[in-house]
């Protein structure tokens, strides 16, 4: 009996550390699962050729668009045409997006590339994915006639939204995605209603309907999106745990004007932008605006206007905006 106590205490310790180890392994496994899942979906979207119809819901609105994606020897081309309302189209080629608005006789050219596409997550971001979201495979379903796997990123706090994804079982391509608010109501969603994957697609199918811009159209050239990366003199003193700064610098918006400070934070799944502009010509109205899951909040700070924009609840963007200070 005298030596019964020490072994049992040791056993408890051993059990405890084994449990801790298992929990650690389990959480690492979840992080790996989440990353693997995201990586597969991202690669499929880049590498596959597909053509399909997308139903896009934002708030009470529903829009349908036709999308054609071509990967031609590593070069991506994409064409998006809306099927409702005035005919408009978007053409994405390497590093440039052209938006055609024939109803307004307007072309908008965005010389920008997307820099932060998956799977370029830092190890910290990968960890924060599983620390701040519960990643679960829900099961199987069908979307657009194809078998899909349903996964969810359920936030572990109320500072971010939930994400539900339906990915093609065969290729991993995302066929449906939904952003969920804190009441688990869908606030923004897209879904393919029909899709043909690995379809024969040639360059003519991703070419604009207006190879030459008609003379009487206006051309809005976006200024180069290149950011001068440097300390902006502004500091964000609060972001939700798990959000990391991924960029800080100055940029000029369309029309030149003054430099705007732009800081970007991300938790691996969504990003939040912080803009600081001189207050004489702010781009955003003071207060809240939102569009589907995108929340925007602007607040005055002395002679500047701070605007925070991101796919997080409105309380989160407001709290971030109110935490911005001069360094």
């Amino acid at each position: 009996m005298q030596h019964a106590h020490p072994p049992s205490s040791r056993a408890r310790r051993r059990l405890a550390s084994a449990a801790f180890f298992l929990a650690f392994v389990a959480s690492t496994a979840r992080a790996d699962d989440a990353m693997q899942w995201l990586t597969r979906a991202a690669q499929a979207a880049r590498e596959l050729n597909y053509i399909g119809t997308i139903l896009y819901q934002i708030g009470p609105r529903v829009e349908t668009s036709r999308i054609t994606h071509l990967n031609d020897g590593g070069r991506e081309f994409e064409k998006l045409v809306n099927l409702d309302g005035p005919a408009r189209e978007l053409i994405r080629t390497q590093g440039e997006v052209r938006c055609y608005y024939p109803d307004a006789k307007l072309v908008r050219v965005e010389p920008r590339t997307f820099r932060n596409v998956f799977p370029s997550l830092s190890p910290q971001q990968q960890q924060s994915l599983s620390r701040f979201y519960d990643f679960r495979v829900i099961g199987d379903d069908r979307v657009s006639g194809r078998p899909v796997q349903v996964v969810v990123f359920q936030p572990r706090d109320d500072l971010r939204y939930g994400h539900r994804f339906w990915s093609d079982a065969e290729t991993g391509l995302l066929l449906k995605a939904r952003l969920l608010n804190e009441k688990e109501e869908g606030i923004e969603q897209f879904a393919f209603t029909d899709i043909s994957i690995n379809a024969p697609i040639d360059r003519s199918m991703v070419a604009p309907s207006w190879p030459v811009t008609p003379k009487d159209w206006r051309v809005l050239e976006g200024v180069s999106g290149d950011v001068v990366r440097q300390a902006t003199g502004w500091v964000v003193t609060w972001v939700p745990a798990g959000f990391e700064k991924i960029m800080e610098g100055f940029r000029r918006l369309r029309g030149g004007g003054e430099r705007v400070a732009h800081l970007v934070y991300s938790d691996g799944l969504v990003s939040v932008s912080v803009f600081v502009e001189p207050q004489d010509a702010p781009s955003a109205p003071i207060g809240f605006v939102h569009q589907g899951g995108l929340n925007v909040y602007s607040v005055r700070h002395d002679d500047h206007v701070i605007t925070v924009m991101g796919e997080t609840p409105s309380a989160t963007v407001r709290q971030i905006a109110n935490s911005v200070e001069r360094r």
Binding site: E63, I67, L80, A281
Partner: protein, 165 residues
């Protein structure tokens, strides 16, 4: 004033006039007129059952004010223009509602310029919008597994629908 209210609902009020018309809505009588006109609109479009009370109100309004329906004949009235009027009015009284983009320069500075130039009608005074320039800048850094490049622009295509009033 009733004529101004009627034109406001059709989105035909000049910006210069807008403040005065909106201010006048604060008075009980003008608000009654406003409510009454909307009841007429709803009834004309068959959206509500016309109750005895509304009919009574309409009748007394018509008796005292023969101009009520005249502007409605002179301006082709579609449900859309009624909707515009409401949207414009909501914006005018500072309620931020639906946040569609606009190809008109919808920044506060842009709105101020147009207001100064007197080129904007009430119908173009729209609810505050998510600023496109900032949105595009933001989305450049948004992690995206949804359709990579074009996905973010879906928002733009979808919400710029109401650009041309």
């Amino acid at each position: 004033m009733s004529e101004s209210i009627s034109r406001l609902m059709d989105g035909d009020v000049d910006v210069a006039e807008l403040d005065a018309v909106c201010a006048s809505l604060k008075s009980g009588e003008a608000m009654a007129t406003w409510t009454c006109y909307h009841a007429i609109g709803d009834a004309l479009r068959g959206e509500i059952a016309v109750t005895r009370d509304v009919r009574g109100a309409v009748a007394s309004r018509l008796a005292g004010d023969p101009t009520v329906l005249a502007p409605r004949r002179s301006v082709p009235s579609t449900p859309a223009s009624w909707a515009w009027a409401v949207a414009a009015t909501l914006a005018a009284v500072g309620v931020v509602g639906w946040t569609a983009y606009s190809l008109v320069d919808s920044t506060p500075a842009g709105l101020a310029r147009m207001r100064d130039a007197g080129t904007m009608r009430a119908a173009e005074l729209r609810p505050a919008t998510v600023p496109t320039d900032l949105l595009f800048a933001h989305q450049e850094y948004a992690p995206s597994i949804m359709l990579q490049g074009v996905g973010p622009y879906l928002r733009d295509v979808a919400v710029t629908r109401e650009v041309q009033p």
